[in-house]
Amino acid sequence: MIINHPLLGPRDSAEFVYLGTSNLMDRPDPETATPEDWHDYAYLRDNPAGPHRELWFHEGGDRSILIVTRDTTTHEISSVELARNPGAQV
């Protein structure tokens, strides 16, 4: 696969480490979260057949973590953002 890095352009996915769903960025608020919230955050997955927002760590590149929207049935990638500032135009 080829991931179109927002800063570096097309890069082979072999340069990246897959970290899983981008929901992992939504860590529960330790002040207010219930045990159920923590369980759902850590263990439950949408696992969609279709577009999936997921994290790819560019370990073999600039070490950015990217939010990649990829269709899990076709592997087609529709958007790539920097996790540190999603949506930023670069």
């Binding site: 696969m1 860590r27 973590i65 076709t74 996790a83 540190r84």
Partner: protein
């Protein structure tokens, strides 16, 4: 003239003669020959045996779709099983053996299977060999396995080398027939970066096999001329002998280039093959088409081949399987073969055409509306039985029969991303359809355009579309454009032992039985009969099977569907896919800064991940590793030892929020750590399990140096990046690894300070007062070399870790040895390191095994409740905090001479010994020279409250049972006075 069947013309170099052997017999051929064409020229039709019935077989085709003529090429360690004689380029000295026969190809004892074929029908083995159960491994299976397989491996290490590389282009053209060549021409002239790959060693595809002319030139000459023009273009790269094996996601193609397979031997340093990963913005597939056979009784005898292949042998290779041949066809293409062979002086016994209105000929007899009912000839074709339109029979004598059932577009690569081909009624064939791999278009015969003119044109059109070329389309070179009339004709009515899959011996009868037994989906048919599972991947067999299944099911072929074609396009050597990553180069090797010095010292090395570390340093006279390791431990504990611990991960954490950041990733507190101090830290995964442990040294208000275990360095670094970028994007913190920048040595033992004082520059006070336990500082050594000093201890002794820039590591180690002589300084390796950490009760990899919590490790109280840190919440789940939770403990044998084994399980002193009663297990064990007996670390249910209890350590797999006593994990200096001395 030994080459009895050599004809006039052809694209072979008659000026050179190549000698080769097949099954030990000598033959000659010419450059440009394949093994198959040369054997045919020498009047050899019999080249192999089939898989199941061991039927005699000759080549069916002249290309990579060949199911029959597969041989063991070369000998010794380079023996290459299942090699297609039809694509193996002839070279001088080539040697090949037939395979899957005994004792000889002409007389094969296993051919008896053919007599019993009635018993060995599709899937028969699922229905028998079941009693008694034990007989399967002992009797039935050995017999089956003995018969199984085709060629054999040499069982020796493959002596050849393989490379892997990367190429990028704007346009990849797959196949250099008329469509591909014309496409490349237009793309090349447009200035685009183009790669043209073809599996053949000669560009031109069918043009080399036909007598058509293109632009007033012989097709083959036009191809050669065009290839020459292309090779002169700097932006075009011609890759002959290159098979594109797979189309992968987003325009990445795998291609195998055969560099030296056509040579007797590889020049040193040169690879046999190269796996190219081609990154193509666009691709045009011009893979051509494969002729399809017709099934009739005994249609598998040597001499029976596809008509267009017979034509290719005659036109390109100037050879014929026999001097008297017949043709069986359902379309005009078969007649072309008759014409071309006739023109080269081959006697055409007859053209048997299923069509009542077949064209007749002046030069030879055409039997209209006729069919081949059966054939004769044990090791090669002698007669064909024909049923004429009027129902009368006729026997025709011939040594070869060309069969033409029409053509199937080579759609394989269009299916690699699960695109489904679609049925084209007019062609009675599948053409590319569904969603093609992104950026791929298809042209020429591969898309069902079977005329030369059509191919040239569609190649041009595809490229102009792919590259978005504007302006008038260049004129299409003049070429034949005869109408193609392809009507379906799959098998002769009433045939049963008519072969569909010639290699796997799947006949029409088998397909019918499969249907009768309910295996009616394509997938079931394929799996039950093994149709299309042979080395030719069903290229010539799938369609016939589908057609018959469709008829039986009363459905149309597209309703029955097609099996998915998967990579690779043709079978690919595993060595090629591995490239250079084998032997010692399988993974890169990491050497420590003191490696070269340690080697001089005669150290024994051990692989730790990719690192090579000194395991121990044997002295003369030491015959057993334990002698060296015990000495290293005792010397360190009594005076001073030095160990290279560079391999520990080092991560530089800087920024105004560095402390806040570490407070989040470590479960214990770091916010208030003073500058100049180091603290032990434990990191948890978010699920509450221990991830790694290490130290963090605060060198400045906004700078920490974090150390990790050797094994987890990369994972911790990644984990910290996740926390930084995904959980704390607003924190001012920057990370970078410095693991290899610093040579870091542990200097341990009561005399470690004295030794270091001779190295550390005088202005730095490293006395116990000036530099207490857990202190850290930037210093200089040996007269001004910048260095870092940490007072931390893994051994439990007074100890320091000193770091200098790696290039000086070698020199520093030598300096420490020299200056340390007065203290008998002793270098120690990973074994002694391990012994001392067990003696001290420090957890390491065996304890941090991915299932243990801070509580298990005896650090439950370290998890700060005052703050939120990664993993602290999920660590509170009840299952991880049960009253009898595992706790790390120490173990010593009740009988001092007994052995303690890591991996042993702990059982109560009394009661049953089984999994249900296990009290947990031993994680680490070693002989402690300090205590003079073996000791162990382990986990124990409620271990915190069972000190002094006697247990049984059982290890049935190493046949050990010993009585052990639960003791403190801190065998040495439990109060920790030494480290503070």
């Amino acid at each position: 003239m030994t080459q009895k069947n050599r004809l006039i013309g052809g694209q072979i170099d008659r000026n050179a003669t190549l000698n080769f052997t097949f099954d030990g017999k000598n033959y000659t051929g010419h450059p440009g020959d394949t093994l198959a064409s040369a054997l045919l020229a020498n009047n050899v039709r019999l080249m192999g045996r089939s898989f199941k019935y061991h039927r005699p077989r000759g080549p069916l085709t002249a290309g990579s779709e060949e199911p029959n003529a597969i041989v063991e090429l070369r000998s010794g360690a380079r023996q290459e099983p299942n090699t297609r004689a039809t694509t193996a380029e002839l070279f001088d000295g080539l040697s090949a053996k037939s395979q899957n026969r005994w004792p000889s190809l002409a007389f094969d004892a296993m051919a008896v299977n053919d007599r019993f074929s009635n018993f060995l029908t599709a899937g028969f083995y699922y229905k028998t060999f079941m009693w008694p159960a034990a007989f399967w491994e002992k009797i039935y299976e050995p017999i089956i396995r003995k018969a199984a397989g085709l060629g054999s491996l040499s069982m020796q290490t493959d002596p050849d080398e393989y490379d892997k590389g990367f190429r990028h282009c704007d346009l990849l053209i797959i196949g250099a027939g008329p469509a591909g060549l014309n496409a490349a021409l237009i793309a090349g002239r447009s200035g685009a970066e183009v790669i043209l790959a073809d599996e053949d060693f000669r560009m031109g595809g069918r043009l080399n096999a036909e007598t058509f002319s293109v632009a007033e030139l012989e097709g083959a000459d036009w191809a050669a001329q065009t290839a020459a023009e292309l090779s002169a273009m700097p932006n075009v790269r011609l890759m002959p002998r290159t098979t594109v094996i797979g189309a992968f996601d987003h325009g990445i193609y795998g291609a195998v280039e055969r560099i030296t397979d056509h040579l007797a031997a590889s020049p040193t340093g040169k690879p046999r093959q190269i796996l190219w990963r081609i990154y193509a913005k666009q691709a045009v597939l011009c893979a051509g088409a494969t002729e399809r056979p017709i099934a009739f009784e005994n249609n598998d005898r040597p001499g029976i081949m596809l008509s267009a292949s017979m034509r290719a042998y005659a036109n390109r290779w100037a050879t014929t399987p026999a001097q008297r041949v017949a043709i069986f066809t359902n379309n005009d293409d078969g007649h072309r073969t008759a014409q071309d062979l006739h023109a080269k002086g081959v006697k055409i016994a007859a053209v048997i055409d299923t069509r009542p209105d077949a064209p007749s000929s002046m030069d030879y007899e055409v039997l209209q509306g006729a069919q081949v009912a059966d054939t004769k000839g044990r090791l090669g074709l002698t007669f064909v039985e024909v049923v004429r339109a009027d129902g009368t029979n006729r026997t025709i004598e011939c040594g070869a029969l060309g069969v033409s059932g029409g053509w199937n577009p080579n759609v394989q690569l269009t299916c690699h991303q699960r695109g489904r081909p679609i049925w084209k009624e007019g062609l009675a064939a599948f053409v590319p359809g569904g969603t093609l791999p992104s950026g791929m278009s298809v042209a020429g015969a591969a898309v069902g355009t079977f005329t030369t003119h059509g191919a040239l044109k569609s190649g041009a059109d595809a490229v102009r579309k792919a590259l978005g070329l504007k302006g008038r389309a260049p004129a299409v070179p003049e070429a034949e454009d005869a109408p193609v009339n392809q009507t379906p004709f799959w098998y002769v009515t009433g045939c049963s032992r008519a072969w569909l899959d010639q290699q796997n011996d799947v006949t029409v009868k088998d397909v019918k039985l499969s249907h009768q037994e309910g295996f009616r989906s394509v997938e079931h048919l394929k799996r039950y009969t093994t149709l299309g599972m042979a080395t030719d991947q069903g290229k010539t067999s799938n369609m016939g099977g589908l057609a018959i299944m469709a008829e039986l099911a009363g459905k149309s072929i597209p309703e029955v569907g097609t099996t998915i074609f998967r990579p690779p396009y043709t079978p690919t050597a595993i060595g090629t896919l591995a490239g250079r990553m084998r032997g010692k180069e399988f993974h890169p090797t990491r050497l420590t800064p003191s490696h070269f010095w340690a080697k001089e010292r005669g150290a024994v090395f051990v692989e730790v991940g990719n690192w090579l570390r000194a395991q121990w340093f044997p002295l003369p006279g030491e015959t057993h590793w334990r002698q060296s390791v015990d000495r290293e431990v005792l010397a360190t504990r009594s005076s001073v030892g030095v160990c290279d611990c560079t391999t520990l991960g080092k991560i530089d954490v800087q920024g105004t929020d560095a402390a806040i950041f570490l407070n989040k990733v470590y479960c214990n507190g770091f916010a208030k750590l003073a500058v100049g101090k180091t603290r032990y830290g434990l990191m948890l995964r978010e699920d509450g399990i221990a991830l790694d442990d290490g130290t963090a040294a605060r060198l400045a208000e906004d700078q920490f140096v974090v150390t990790t275990t050797t094994a987890n360095a990369a994972r911790v670094y990644q984990h910290m990046e996740f926390v930084r970028q995904c959980l704390m994007p607003q924190a001012d913190v920057q990370l970078i690894s410095t693991t290899e920048a610093w040579a870091q040595y542990a200097v341990a033992g009561p005399n470690s300070r004295k030794l270091l004082q001779k190295i550390v520059d005088a202005e730095f006070d490293i006395s116990n007062e000036g530099f207490p336990f857990m202190a850290c500082a930037n210093i200089t050594v040996c007269g001004g070399l910048r260095a870092r000093l940490f007072r931390i201890s893994f051994s439990g002794e007074l100890a320091f870790e000193i770091a200098v820039p790696s290039r000086y590591g070698d020199a520093l180690m030598r300096k420490l040895m020299a200056e340390g002589e007065e203290f008998d300084v002793t270098p120690y390796g990973t074994e002694a390191l391990g012994v001392m950490r067990i003696e001290k009760g420090h957890a390491a990899g065996n304890e941090l095994n991915g299932t243990t919590t801070a509580l298990n490790l005896g650090m439950g109280r370290m998890v700060s409740k005052a703050k939120d840190s990664i993993g602290s919440k999920l660590a509170e789940r009840p299952g991880l905090n049960e009253p009898d939770a595992l706790m790390q403990i120490g173990l010593r044998p009740v009988n001092r001479d007994d052995k303690v084994t890591a991996g042993g399980h702990l059982m109560n002193a009394l009661g049953p010994v089984d999994a249900a009663h296990a009290q947990a297990y031993v994680t680490s064990a070693a002989f402690s020279p300090t205590l003079g007996c073996m000791i162990g670390l382990g986990f124990l249910k409620d271990g915190g409250n069972r000190n002094g209890e006697k247990l049984r350590l059982v290890s049935p797999v190493t046949d050990l049972t010993v009585e052990v006593e639960v003791v403190s994990a801190h065998f040495v200096d439990p109060e920790g006075e030494r480290v503070r001395a």
